[in-house]
Amino acid sequence: MDPDLALLLNGIVSGLLLGGLYAAAAAGLSVSFGMLDVVNIAHPAFMVLGSLIVALLWAATGLDPLLLSILLTPAFWALGAAIYVAYHHFFERRGDEAIQGLAFFFGVMFIIEVGLVLAIGPEQHFVDAAYANTTWRLGEIDLPLRMLVPALVSFAAIGGLVLFLRRTFTGRAIAAVAQDREALRLLAIDPVRIKRLAFGISIAMAALAGGALVVVQPVDAWSGHVFIGRVFAVVIMGGLSSLGGCVLAALAFGVVENVTASFYGPSWSPAVAFGCLLLVLAVRPQGFFGRTA
């Protein structure tokens, strides 16, 4: 195979795998920011919290890190629901969610980061999944399981979430609360309860993303900073409340980053990826799958 073609194909494939990680990181935010209109800037910090708890549990039990992250989701759901109760009580109920709510989640982010340093130290933590050192080869194409398995798990989790949102009454209520919360009251549904449930789901998705992240790379308390810009860009590019759009945008982001890094150098990757975001928003302000107002 022509070396440039092999480089291109590998750039695309590795970009898709990287996109799987971005999708995992952004899916929860798509629920909280896209559907609930809660600007949870601390979402990547919750992901890192999940990563570090998984790393500690892995060191203690030796269980697969992705399995551990799935086991963590109920606890993270409860944490998310509790945080939403506080957020709603102090900000949303009073109509102060715009700036004060953003400040609240900034505060949550710093508390998580400092708390992690105090509890487990500033060092990087890692896991060594059984498959992490294996790479499948399809001709000239490399498929490192370190990237492939987390990507597949995140796609499966997002697929399950999409089914839940489309096929269940509660799921449809979550989708509805994003559009018209007062209409829900006419159906005798408490929108606050639905938002609490949905915000819990978004934080549970952060736990899953944390499991994926710590398989891919070592993690410290501040590893989430790298993802803040990316996950918001992915959610906006995908169309805010569309999980399908979120996945597509995440894959596009990963492919653009890696193909650019392969051919033009890694310094250009973020600039080109965010340039593509601007281009998409210029042509389609509502994102890939967003609805126009």
């Binding site: 795998l17 990680l21 500033p122 060594d128 490399d142 392969s262």
Partner: protein, 421 residues
Amino acid sequence: MKDISRRDLGRLALAAAATVPATARAQTAPSGPPIRIGYSMSLSGGLAGNGRPALLAHRIWAEEVNAKGGLLGRPVELVHYDDQSTGAQVPGIYTKLIDVDKVDLVISGYATAIIAPAMPVVMQRNMTFVSLFGTGVNADFKYDRYFSINPAGSNVKETFAKGFMDIAMAMDPKPRSIGLVNLDSDFHQRTAESARHLARENRLRIVYDRAYPPSTVDFTPIIRSVQAARPDIVFVGSYPPDTAGLLRAASELRVNFQLFGGPMIGPHITAQKMQLGPILNNLVVWDVYAPEPTLQFPGTQALIERYQPLAARENTDALGHYVPPLAYAQMQVLEQAVRRVGRIDQAALAADMHANQFDTVIGPLRFDAMGEWTEERNLYTQYQGVQGNGIDQFKKAGTQVILYPQRYKSGEFRKPYTAGA
């Protein structure tokens, strides 16, 4: 002669008990107002992984000095604030330390990004400043009271990558091409410039020369592009999270380079050593210390033996081979200068530091006019025979052999680098 009665004997014993320890206390216990040493230190944020071990080494030094009677008979006190690994915090911290806390002496926190923002404040107050792991900080300031605890020396461009190139050019057959990869950071730009300069001097063809941003998540495209360029040797400059990503990618892509490494900061940290395990085999890494018999100085082993149990208790870097020896030496330089001068006099301290040699746990040091070491000591080490992920193998000689400089050489270079394959 009058016989000593039993009562007299009792009085004598009481007097001895009261006076002898008092005399001993007068010789050992420091008294008076403390000598306060102020600095910022990264105890949170990205640099905390090295900032916390540095602080632990400083505390060990302070306890030892105070146990031996203090400095100039006064106790030493460390006054430090967390800079959160953010350079923007640093000027305010040093302003407070000097103007409000009225510290007697100042030193720097860890790394170039923290040292440089402190310089204007320190220079305005004419304080003597001993820094830790700053590379080329004083090249622009040219402050005559700046002293650096960093082995890079003052001529980074000519000397930093020399060890790497010397190892490469001693290979048979000689390499003909080189790939350069570095993080977009001040330190790594300087080191890449050194490699670029020396590659040209050695007539090596540079077939890949790219920097990557700190926000990079996936390093596979970088390693694959380097592979596609087919260099014989690869010089890489990276910080810990990136180093793990680069080496993982190298392992997944089954790289085979005659020589691979450089200032890849990462395996210096114990957790990363253990994580990477056999992937480290034959990696050539710039370092400042390795537990080899050729690099032992008075006090080195004692410091590490004192550090390790404390580090385990405080949940910080377990081995302490990277920052702690240099952080301790930073304090030794200050201590020896103060003892020689006999008072806290910033100008006299700086003059003493320029004029004299310092005996430290990292060996004898002398400073040049720029405050850098007169003799650079960039170590190039190679990991050999790493098996599994256990910590004990990294405590003993032979696992991280020193290849350069010749005077500390403890093993022979092995090639190629195949990332554990």
